[in-house]
Chain length 351, copies 2
DNA sequence: AATTAGCACTCAACTTATGCGAGTGCCAAT
DNA sequence: ATTGGCACTCGCATAAGTTGAGTGCTAATT
């Protein structure tokens, strides 16, 4: 389906590149005449028309109508960002603002919000950041409170000061004292370990011969298991600057805009998309409907996973119209991901 | 500025009423001819034109242009909802759905979300609900965890299972044991009391001769004071169904829509508006720019405070175009507020 | 004195015509 | 292979004409 760089000669590529750049900067379909002047190649419009016809046959560009210029198709954009793009180094002012913004807070979830807002403000598009996944976080403190029946409210603190809570259903009814004992036990044993490590340790503990462990410890372990269950909380992200998207003419259609915003508020599709880019390291780009989601037609999503201690823990990105300045946005997202990763790492702190 | 019912004779009022009703249902400026047929009064269009001219002089209606019918102005709507409206009783199906929806959960913050979504879905407009304010909630459990320096992470549970947390800065550095003692003390004394009561008790305690109280208790009290500070958390609400608003033709202007959504995401103006209706009991209506906020032009907000144990604890409402079916929305908001209040009351539970 | 019929007038909205210009595709000449 | 030339297409803007819903005013009617 997609076209490879090698399927085309240098001249065609050069022209495609100029065309996409021109279209991105001007927003108007570009014709042979303009392209002839814009490109460094000394070719007449007629020649360029021939080349354009080839590019159209390959599905890289198309005209909205007979007497208009050409605009890139999704494949055209794809080839462009994959093989033709010359990224611009990021403005040092922007780096600075990112760095300043991210370093002024310690609270993780607050920082995620700041990162999202910074991206939205600096790109004038929408910024999105997933919450870091569990691997990253260390258990600091756990606490059980009895609710009615056999339900227990678990409160646990991770890292410095992230407070989480969850209601679990236990086999039997526990007294306040029993719950306290369990919490004490868990705190003494697992405090300081990462949630993933805790989960693994608990599973192991449960599989070991249960004879040796006493009842109180077993209860504690069971409750811990319920708490740190498969409830991998990858299910949330912070989206900011949606309203920036309302300005773009490519989203002028009311229905289109509505669909997009509905996708945002239902979260599901966005999560799925972000999850995908969680797999790969570095910057990833979804152009238009490539993602398979109708709602993202005419929109591109530039993402990058971010890591702490060389481990991928989340994804962030920018959502905007397909016709966006990729050469700036890509390094921008890349840098933001790195800065966020660094800011989240409690050990590193120098710029 | 505003026009009173008494300034007009019955016939004019009758006609204004029909006009507003007609405009709300059809969305088209209504002319003398239509009004003549629509109203029960047997009057010729010519007569009606005279009356309309009067209504226009009073600023209750106006025409978009010479050869169009009339549409209500803000004052016109105001007079209509205040004095002319005949509310329709709520459909029992809707009451049922509300009741079902609200009773299937115990978790307060979840319930707020459900209420908001129900309102949005049933009205096909946007639903908004403030979180219940502190007066309502009882302290159930409090806990202190030391952070770096002299900062302390406070976790407290209210009602059944609402977990809150906050970082406070203390005068001196406390050990884990000291913090535990303080928490124990506070738990034993204040557990079960409403947050307002706790706050009051603490202030009193501080003003009493401090000689008698020992140091440990004093530390505990000071920390409690920092925790339950003036941090009245009226600052948040749940807004749902914003996208429903994108369908309305009155919000067709891109900029207008953008402003509205920006107001939503900045929250501030919405909070201010909701705060206002917190004062009054029962249903309140803000029509168009009456509220003073540019962004809410062409929008109306129908709110009602909701109460638990006869005390107002929050506000909920519906946001939609000025041209909304007030006769249905008003009772709807009213009932929702009552049902939410009832659902939040832990004692009552029968339908 | 209130109501109504009649009439001239206004104005948005729609339709049709027309010209313009940007751009194309193709072909024959270079 | 590249280019100039040319006929052709089609969106877009502007203008002109038509329609119809609705008004305000006046004079007649009740």
């Amino acid at each position: 389906m997609s076209v490879n760089k090698r399927d085309l000669n240098d001249r065609s590529l050069q022209l495609l590149k100029t065309l996409v750049e021109r279209y991105i900067s001007e927003g108007q379909p570009v014709g042979s005449r303009i392209l002839s002047k814009d490109s460094d190649l000394k070719l007449s419009p007629a020649t360029i028309r021939n080349v354009m016809a080839d590019l159209e046959d390959l599905g890289l560009i198309h005209s909205p109508h007979t007497s208009a210029g050409r605009i890139p198709t999704v494949s055209g954009y794809r080839l462009f960002v994959d093989s033709l793009l010359t990224v611009k180094p990021l403005d040092s002012k922007e780096i600075n603002r990112l760095y300043q913004g991210l370093s002024e807070t310690e609270d993780t979830s607050h920082m995620i919000g700041v990162a999202s807002k910074l991206m939205a403000d600096l790109t004038r598009m929408a910024g999105v950041v997933t919450l870091p996944k569990r691997e990253l976080v260390c258990l600091r403190h756990i606490e059980f409170l009895p609710l009615s029946h056999n339900r227990v409210l678990v409160i646990f603190v991770t890292n410095e000061q992230e407070v989480h809570n969850k209601v679990i259903h236990t086999d039997k009814v526990f007294s306040v004292t029993e719950l306290q004992q369990s919490a004490n036990y868990l705190n003494s044993v697992y405090c300081g370990q990462s949630l993933v490590a805790v989960r693994a340790a608990i599973l192991k503990e449960l599989q070991d011969d249960q004879e040796r462990t006493n009842q109180a410890m077993l209860d504690a372990i069971k409750m811990a298991q319920l708490t740190f269950d498969a409830s991998q909380k990858t299910d949330d992200f912070v989206l900011t600057g949606e309203t920036n998207l309302m300005g773009f003419s490519e989203l002028a259609d009311r229905n289109h805009l509505k669909n997009l915003f509905e996708a945002f508020s239902q979260k599901q599709d966005v999560i799925h998309l972000l999850d995908q880019s969680m797999q790969a390291e570095g910057v990833q780009i979804f152009i238009g409907q490539e993602s398979g989601y109708q709602a993202f037609d005419q929109c591109s999503l530039v993402t990058s996973s971010y890591s702490v201690n060389d481990e991928v823990v989340g994804v962030l990105g920018v959502i905007g119209p397909t016709r966006m300045a990729y050469e700036k946005i890509i390094p921008f997202v890349d840098v933001t991901a790195k800065l966020l990763g660094a800011a989240l790492n409690p050990k590193t702190s120098a710029p």
